[in-house]
Symmetry: C2
């Protein structure tokens, strides 16, 4: 499967996007090494930066694993949900025809709604999912997987917000409250920062526990949150409403 | 102070980089709103993505707070330490003449070493630091602050790796083992993922605890690491050596 992606990468690699040349940089990555396993990280307009970068940071250093950022229709900068930050997609859905791992981050409801309603995204996800060893999501990325029809009857999690959980149920998933959940080859993570926990679990599936434990130390993931407010099941209604307002007000 | 940054943003905003136009996207952000406080997030070649995106994600939605990504010499995509991911710098050090908060992420030793040895970076950090309410770093970003001379006699933390801690001591900082530490207006975070904890603490300083608690819930930061290996003080030597090898082997 990596071979097919490799072909796409080599082909696309011969034409670095103009912005990369103008910025005086080589196209990121280039051709994968033989036998390299690929993680296709879908970047759609309005994704949430930490949903993508949390798991990226613990997967990108796994020996023999290559993370490929995939834009929906073009390579180059993809805006996040706040419109303040952009991350570069190396390739496009047209370039990447298969992958060992599919990773779909979440985003604001506008961006997720648009991606979930896009037949090209749905078809690409179904095509990639057919060949993956693991199909994964973070936060509301589960809604995009759900819209593609790959979560029917699957135990899955998403952001704690009521709209996300209701939508995920609507796609036929069995919604759980877990930080991350593995069901068959599907691994879903809860909201935003849960992508780090999910990513470390995925790292152990890809490279074994010894390497995953070392990566957790490498990124010094020994959390000491300054507050006890991260769990919606324990949060008061006022904090929940303020959290949802902050998320909605910042969205573009 | 935000005004001065605003002027820079407006001026720079009149010429969106070519890559942004080619990608069919507006330049991110644009002119700040009146009274908006600015966080200048320095992106240097070889920074670590999660060091920057962890705190970004909990600061970017604070009411009246604007995060501005700052490239060292040019705007546009800046490569991270692995060379596989690039994040777009909206502005440059020349555009941004002051900020309310300075945030310096860490990176691989090559990128951090080059940034720490760059007189233009050192001068810009000293200039911005003179006007900040908070000067902050994540991971080995503390070494870049240290090279600029702003950490002498300051209690500070960095990545657990011996090289980083020794270098930080060399800059006259009093190195601690804390997840994040506030000393005067300097707030430093430990390795990589500690930027989320540091960022939430900074959020409470900027917007009060009620908002910071809500942001922690917004990004669902209720960590459940799959392993107990995130703390170097508790890790065995074999895991530490493997972690450092994985970090070094992936660096470009």
């Amino acid at each position: 499967m990596a071979g097919a992606v490799g072909a796409g990468l080599v082909a696309a690699g011969t034409a670095a996007p103009a912005f990369a040349r103008e910025a005086g940089q080589p196209a990121a990555g280039g051709a994968p090494k033989p036998g390299e396993r690929t993680v296709a990280l879908l970047l759609f307009d309005g994704f949430t930066a930490l949903d993508a970068v949390g798991p990226y940071e613990v997967l990108c250093r796994l020996p023999g694993v290559r993370v490929v950022t995939v834009g929906t229709r073009q390579s180059g900068p993809v805006r996040t949900d706040t419109g303040e930050l952009s991350i570069v997609a190396e390739r496009t859905m047209a370039d990447v025809t298969s992958a060992d791992v599919l990773l779909v981050p979440g985003g604001g409801m506008r961006g997720v709604g648009a991606a979930a309603a896009d037949p090209a995204v749905q078809n690409w996800i179904r095509r990639i999912d057919r060949g993956t060893t693991w199909t994964t999501s973070v936060c509301t990325g589960a809604l995009i997987l759900g819209a593609a029809g790959v979560l029917r009857g699957v135990r899955a999690t998403t952001h704690w917000g009521p709209a996300a959980r209701t939508a995920l149920e609507g796609y036929g998933a069995v919604v759980t409250q877990q930080r991350f959940v593995e069901h068959g080859k599907i691994i879903t993570g809860a909201g935003v920062s849960a992508g780090i926990d999910m990513g470390l679990h995925l790292a152990s599936r890809l490279s074994g526990e010894e390497v995953a434990r070392a990566m957790q130390l490498g990124v010094e993931y020994d959390p000491a949150p300054p507050f006890d407010s991260g769990n919606a099941a324990k949060a008061d209604e006022r904090t929940k409403q303020l959290a949802l307002k902050l998320l909605n007000d910042a969205a573009v």
